[in-house]
Symmetry: C2
DNA sequence: TAGCTTAATGCAACTTTATTGCATTTTATT
DNA sequence: AATAAAATGCAATAAAGTTGCATTAAGCTA
């Protein structure tokens, strides 16, 4: 199945209309190891309004298609979710690695995250781990 | 030793001049279980310029007096560091708990954080854990 | 304690990221 | 082809943070 078919499927499944802008966002995010910020997306996506982009990203986030993670500057970055995410539950409890040099945010979802026990009285909904350091590319320079 | 003496000591130790604005920031942050955002600080600190506040916060952060953590909106929040932080090393590898109701950010520094092993090629500098959920106050409503 | 040097502050302007309201266009369906 | 709902574009606005520069204050030193 081609990416395009896959994307159309994905949109239909979440009751989102198939539009050019949404397909472009999906194709920009898929297969990327790093999360992408709205400003970065904006600069490469071409003829799509800033506001539209924001709205697409938040719609996708609500539906569980992508997840949002903040980088070292507090800017939102977005990455495609693993397949088992949906509207009701995000499985994005993986490690986000922020490279202090190139500023890329890597989703290291192959790592198992240890369980965390909270103090009494706190109700956990979501957990996330983030690391800062140098990524392989920047380390080899 | 009074708080004021303690703060003056702290500033001198980090080669920062003792100013009214800095003392106010310290007294607002000390003994708080939750981290405070710049906007929140600004609204209560009184007659201190926005820019000055930003500069005080980043100076304190550089010196290891406070640490910065982003909340669910990507806004920077600040909290006093544990005593053993300094310019060269931050010990802020504790859990930050974001309440999805009241938006407060709790520094749960009494919890032991498990070690995380990164994939080969990544060099770790700093690690942080953050959770989203309901805090005790909001849970009891 | 007066003078001096450096650090800190205040102000104005600006940048970046994000949001809202509303008119227009497009999608998907009948 | 007509239609209703959803999506988009545009303009305006908001919020968070930054930069440059002139002024003021802190804390030495004589």
């Amino acid at each position: 199945m081609s990416y395009n078919q896959h994307f159309e499927h994905l949109l239909k499944r979440h009751q989102l209309k198939r539009t050019e802008a949404r397909l472009r966002v999906l194709s920009l995010l898929v297969n990327k190891k790093t999360a992408t910020s709205q400003p970065d997306l904006e600069s490469v996506i071409g003829d799509v309004d800033r506001v539209t982009l924001y709205r697409i990203l938040s719609a996708f986030e609500e539906k569980g298609i992508i997840h949002k993670v903040f980088d070292l500057n507090g800017t939102a970055n977005y990455a495609i979710c693993a397949d088992d995410c949906d509207e009701h539950h995000h499985h994005d409890e993986h490690l986000h690695f922020n490279c202090s040099n190139c500023k890329n945010v890597y989703c290291l979802d192959e790592l198992d995250m240890p369980p965390i026990v909270l103090p009494a009285g706190f109700k956990l909904e979501k957990l996330s781990f983030s690391a800062v350091g140098l990524c392989p590319k920047c380390l080899n320079k």
